[in-house]
């Protein structure tokens, strides 16, 4: 698949602070790439550099395989962008704001405005001034602007901030539809990890300006496979028995006499019988799985412990 975004050792310094450090990410055509990270991890800085709002201190990047300044300007015309809060002229109405950008972007036909406003359910609010809109409506107007040019790539920074639950579902379905029907590539950052896990096909985990890990949904599923969590009175003894008697080798012994058993063939009944017959008190046995949130926490937590 074609590479839509590719960064090479992208770094950004603010004075002596490293906002981004040697970032290498690749977003391929058709991907929904989820950028995950805490506040200050560098998500917005990365998006700002990609959109030309800021400049990298070192490193380079390509958009649609273009890298020179002139080529990047042209490539950006194939993108739709929301970074932080959507920004419009507060005293102009929704329609006037959209018309302003329609003229600016040389889009023929005013009917395009109605079409995109309808997609984000703002058609009835087009006479409303931007200053009088709720946060959720502003977010939807921001999304309408990203779609006005029929982009091939969407760069979205926290696009569901301020939306109510039904608004979140609408936007999620809209993004999924745009991705599936129009093959639009999406780079999206969000704090709402369960929501991100509903749409993303690959992830980049950022922490303190560094890319900690980049992986596809398949790789994440592999890493997030379900496991048995066993709490016993003697974890060390039971782990030895599990290896010796049942042949289980894929496990982790955690503090607090806890064993996480990742073996797919593990049978809880056999394990409880093994524990009881060997005089090990079985306190708890539960099947668990790692979701995006837990995976992120374990990744960043592990990183923090280093």
């Amino acid at each position: 698949m074609k590479e839509v975004i590719k960064t090479h050792k992208l770094s950004k310094m603010y004075g002596k602070d490293n906002a981004l450090s040697d970032i290498n990410i690749t977003v391929r055509q058709g991907d929904i790439y989820g950028l995950v990270g805490d506040n200050g991890a560098g998500k917005t800085t990365l998006l700002r550099i990609l959109t030309g709002q800021s400049y990298a201190t070192s490193g380079s990047f390509q958009l649609f395989s273009k890298s020179s300044n002139k080529q990047l300007s042209r490539a950006r015309r194939r993108t739709g962008v929301i970074i932080e809060a959507p920004s419009f002229y507060p005293k102009l109405t929704v329609e006037q704001n959209m018309e302003y950008y329609r003229i600016q972007r040389g889009i023929p036909g005013k009917d395009r405005i109605d079409k995109v406003l309808k997609e984000v359910d703002l058609l009835n609010a087009k006479k409303k001034k931007f200053a009088d809109m709720s946060l959720g409506m502003k977010q939807r107007l921001g999304l309408a602007l990203t779609m006005i040019t029929e982009p091939e790539l969407l760069l979205l920074d926290e696009p569901i901030n301020g939306l109510d639950p039904s608004g979140i579902i609408e936007i999620r379905n809209l993004l999924l539809r745009l991705n599936k029907e129009n093959n639009i590539t999406i780079l999206i950052s969000s704090h709402i990890l369960p929501e991100l896990s509903n749409i993303a096909t690959c992830y980049g985990f950022l922490d303190k300006g560094r890319l900690v890990e980049e992986l596809s949904i398949g790789e994440l599923e592999e890493k997030s496979k379900s496991f048995l969590e066993i709490k016993v009175t003697n974890a060390k003894k039971l782990s030895a028995l599990l290896e010796e008697r049942l042949g289980y080798r894929d496990y982790k012994v955690l503090p607090g006499e806890i064993i996480q058993l990742f073996d797919h063939n593990s049978v809880p009944e056999k394990i409880s019988e093994l524990a009881v017959t060997n005089g090990i008190g079985l306190i708890g046995l539960q099947e668990k799985s790692v979701d995006l949130e837990n995976y992120y926490m374990s990744l960043i937590g592990a990183d923090k412990n280093v």
Binding site: G52, Q53, I83, E84, K91, L92, Q96, Q104
Partner: protein, 252 residues
Amino acid sequence: MFNYIRSEVYRNMHSKGNNMFLFGGMIFAILLNLILSMQTYGDTNFALTSFYNAMRIIMIISFPLISLIYGQEFKHHTLKNPVSYGISRSHIYFGKFLVEVALCILNLICISAVYVISAYIILGNTDIIHLVDFIRSLIAFTPLLLVSIAVAHCLHFVFDNEITVGIVWAIIIVIIPALLKTVGRRIEIIGKVANLTPWNVIDATGYDEVTDRLFMTWSSSTGFIKCFIIGFIGVAIFYTLGFISFKSKQIK
């Protein structure tokens, strides 16, 4: 770039502030002539002469108009939209400057026209020589006004805060020239420098009692050319400074 300029014109045409400024200015011009008609000295000569003698005030009034046209882009964070769409910063910078210049001059022409027409309708003495002086003053004043626009334009791209822009604009356009002029009364070289600032160029140089004409710097041929040279250099300096700043600026 043409599309960017068109969009800026569209935005300004739909901005109440700009329209209020224009129509407010026109009504104020008529009111001035109505007030003059109640005075014994209130004739067309006086109306036109006092207008071009007070062009410093027009220069000051131009600042809020430029701010209105600029549209508080940094306050509303709206500049990130064209930038992230790939419209080059040079096009944005030049496009905005062009619209500011066009709308400022349009306002000046419209308000002046209303002032002149209302003066000729309301007041007595329809001497043509003062109208010729008036038109010559408007032409000579235009490059000086462009310097004021260029300074405001430059500062709007340097500072995010509107108040800071206003203060620095006043320092550059009004306060420094006024100080130079004061010091220049004692130190000749500083006096010469002071006379090269737009603020000090707008000054009366003499008065002819017979024809009742007020002579300004631009009344002579050399003074007229001087206005254009100062205008060209001033615009070039501040336009470039602002662009250098904007080119490396992080847009939020």
